[in-house]
Symmetry: D2
Subunit: 337 residues, 4 copies
């Protein structure tokens, strides 16, 4: 059977998913699109033979759409679409962050739990990246003994003026907040956010850049994370897990190297759609497979909530002179997850 | 529309393609399988909900099959299936080598030309590998000036006793024979095959291993190629193109690195399905897209013929003390290609 | 002229310096040795044709010794020898740490200032390492713009039971304390030492391992440093300086790489004498050249004092739950330095 | 004791050795210099406090000179100085090539044999490079089993118009001719030199660039060598030894890496004095130690002769359409070597 996918939101990430669903995913087709910008909707509808829906809600409600992807910006709009999909019992994939508040995430978790069925997958694509998967397998198989420390960096080429200090956590560090506790298989105990006095000249008045985050897990693994979103060098994601018997490090993939002008060089990807192309493909393929099998197993609403609670603690630390802030989940993980 | 694919031959490569078509390719489904080994046919038919055909010819003839993949061994069997598909006007993908003789390839080219339509794609998957594509783009765009030399290695972990001296050319070097002249965009002038006196202890009496091949193109680019099929280290494919202003080299992809026990190490893939997984996916996706669009543009029967003519010259050199042997194509490239 | 060098202390580092002076340094010869362990003194005296002195003080006082190297352990013994050399106006090289207390360093600085001549060089060899020198030059020449962050690791294979929690700072992190502010050309503002709850099973009851240190400079550059002295992987020193326009990283040197058994690997040195062999050679050569020219310019007593004040702040932070501790130098840098 | 070294020839390599002897070598001092260019002699005599000799012969004859280094150009001048040193029984280090003809080398060998004492060391510095030494040790210790193949490149940034086709062998490939059979511990059986039709635009009418050389050893190890002296990328020396159980490769050393502008890069040295600085230091230190001990063990006149016989065979092949030419040593190795 071929699954009919509808996508709401056709911007940078949305258009990337549109192309993915239409041309790369097995067992799925792009059936419908919706965007407030009518020209975008028309462009992709025409290119891939999809139907245009007047609104996200209309798309969700349509009997011609088997499952929905929510890729809207601003992210505040995620919540209504996800809740509506849950309400009518339709599978929905939502890009991260699930919502911009822990309260919003909690509302979604509660709705899903009330419905009694996992319908939501959150776009934490790194869990589907071959590199992170290799590292997780090494940790799970105890290949290098117990993990002790993680050093991570999340670096972007540059951001525009709409990106402010809060987003370094809520838009950027949220990826590590999710993927690192998944890697380690345990929850966080506390976190800190430190704003070093010296900033890059490439930033603007509303953005403190770079920022330094730490996280400590329940068992005592210590994590440090550099978030630097105007690095000028590329989209440079690093993660080294220091274990008792060895250190395993994520490596950015490249396909060729060049020697020229006294240098031997390899390429650094320029953005997330390039760096994590395979991860995004795997993520959506597994989601489609899950929907087809009526059992979705990717990152859940609960994972979306955990990430947002973590971000809230980091923001509180940032606003309180880098004090250590406890990371406390609202209640026990529901048995649904 | 979803294309119904039938696959003939379910061995090492055939089963890899079965899984690919069934689970990774967009716009296609595994509709039918055929193999002399009935248990293999039953296994994959059951696993992916495909129909079993009694013979390859039955599968090709079936109106339920839109396009055919020929992955049979021994490779002598390719010819009959490809010719039959051409005869009834059905698209056919055939693993390399297209046939084991230049004469066989010529028969296929002639049949296709007579039919007046390109129906065949040959499994030279490296043309779809991101690394080779990067290199080709650099050459085509003249980024580092004119190419002058190529150094290549084709190394396998090990082979069994059915693999003999002739296969180092016809099964293994054939990949470079195809991909290197495609990279350079020109035909070969001559080639040599040298059998170094010293051989690995891991070989057997019917196999001279390693072997050294050279190829020179019409414009005078010189290529050397090590073929070593019992290297004990992994599937290690290298290709460095020395240009006037720089040297661009293929790099085997890895996703993580490990420091342990005084060494910093990265992984070498163990076989072609692992090393070229992305290339195979892209190859079949583009073939499916081509069939869907009724216009296949991947490696053609003509490319299969050129590769076999090249292999014949290399074999002649090997049997004549590494003398330089001219590489002469049978006639002009038909306008169909 | 050939300088007659006397070396006090013939243990791990002392014997390394003995060999260096006797066989690698231009313009110098090993003239005398002293060690409480008489057999060590005899061994090296015989091997290199040097004279044995009954005590360090005797060696310093000898008119046959032009300049002295103090490489004794325990490090408490450095102070007396250095002070005695200053007193009689003889050049003295002293391994780090200069003394084990800021007060002891201060005494040496005061004695030297009173004498009115720089006579002491401290063994911070990293300032002579080609990698650190490349990084310093890039920073000084502003090649990648302003430095913003430094990530560093100081990892050792393993330590024995005499190495305790305090030594991670005073014996190990002291190298980074010195070299990083030298790299940046500015003083520290504050530091922290955090003891992550999770420790390696390879440590013992008196050693908390690993430890995480941070330093912030006056201008606001933020540094994080992992100190891990039972890493089981090698002597793994890393330093990445994140600048506004690029990131420059120290690379551990290797001379060959090996592919075997599905891995491509390079070597990690096993200890400091191997990793920093060139740095040690350069350090002692420049010291000998300085003595010969009657003008020593390497790391001074003041640098030894600054490092110790930094270590004291880090120790205080460690004992106070990782609180941020100001790093305050005792007074202005004397004009002698 | 400090050895008084005299250096004849103060050009590119000569001045590098002058600085080395004067400032880096233990147990030696620069005592005298001679060069036809009087200003060069004055410059270095003044800089390092050495005496100027009117001629090379005067320098060799001087009782104030303990041992001599011959670094003159053109290389034809080597022979007279080396023979004169042998005649008066003085140790002499001579840069490669020892002479420009096998006959000249033979004359030196004969003179040395007649004198009954090894007095000559030839400047094949690569035998003192840590990378080649690691590879030789691995081969000698049989760590990866029997060596089967070697792939090598000798690339230079660029050469001027005085460098012609013959020099690619006699000035450049001579290094590999020496170091590779030393690595393998056996003599060559035959060699070929192939001039690929396509040449770099950076060459000139008297120079065919690049060139491809092969060598086969007595036991049957096959070697291919790219000589490319206008590569525009740096001084890029590579050597991979393919063994039965692993492949060991020389790696050009670097001390730091840089990420900037979408690339992660490491440095390629620009010439031999930079790439092989450590090898040159070790070479001269060991020579000085040998002279001091009255027993020189580095590359001998015989090695110089073997290299030149090899070069002659390669030149003959080049002039005869790349035919395979036997490499035949003039007679048995004298027992002196
Ligand atoms: Mg995402
Ligand atoms: Mg194939
Ligand atoms: Mg030291
Ligand atoms: Mg040389």
């Amino acid at each position: 059977m071929t699954l009919n996918i509808g996508i709401i939101g056709l911007g940078f990430m949305g258009s990337d998913h549109v192309k993915r669903v239409a041309t790369k995913i097995n067992g799925a087709r792009l059936a419908g699109v919706a965007d407030l910008k009518q020209d975008l909707a028309e462009k992709y509808a025409k290119e891939y033979g999809a139907k245009i829906y007047k609104s996200g809600i209309d798309l969700i409600d349509s009997p011609d759409i088997d499952a929905v992807m929510v890729v809207t910006r601003p992210h505040e709009t995620h919540e209504q679409f996800v809740l509506h999909a849950i309400e009518i019992g339709k599978y929905v994939f939502c890009e991260k962050p699930l919502t911009l508040t822990a309260a919003g995430c909690k509302k979604i978790v509660d709705a899903e739990v009330k419905g009694g069925k996992r319908l939501v997958q959150v776009g934490f694509m790194r869990r589907f990246d071959p590199g992170y998967i290799e590292i997780k397998k090494a940790i799970d198989d105890h290949v290098y003994g117990e993990p002790l420390l993680i050093h991570a960096t999340h670096r972007n080429c540059s951001v525009d003026e709409t990106y402010d200090t809060s987003m370094s956590i809520i838009e950027t560090a949220i990826h590590e907040a999710d993927v690192l506790h998944w890697l380690l298989g345990e929850d966080y105990e506390s976190g800190t956010t430190f704003l070093p006095k010296k900033q890059t000249k490439y930033t603007h008045s509303k953005l403190h850049d770079p920022q330094i985050i730490t996280l400590d897990t329940k068992s005592g693994v210590h994590i440090d994370l550099e978030v630097f979103v105007n690095d000028q060098i590329g989209y440079d994601i690093n993660c080294s897990v220091v274990c008792e018997n060895g250190i395993i490090s994520l490596r950015s993939p490249f396909n060729s190297s060049v020697k020229k002008g006294l240098y031997d060089q390899t390429y650094i990807p320029k953005d997330c759609t390039e760096r994590f192309a395979t991860a995004y493909d795997n993520e959506i393929q597994e989601w489609v497979n899950g929907v087809e099998a009526d059992k979705v197993t990717g990152p859940s609403s609960w994972d979306g909530l955990v990430a947002m609670v973590t971000c809230d603690a980091l923001a509180k630390s940032r606003d309180n002179d880098a004090e250590r802030v406890a990371i406390v989940l609202p209640d026990k993980k529901p048995s649904l997850y």
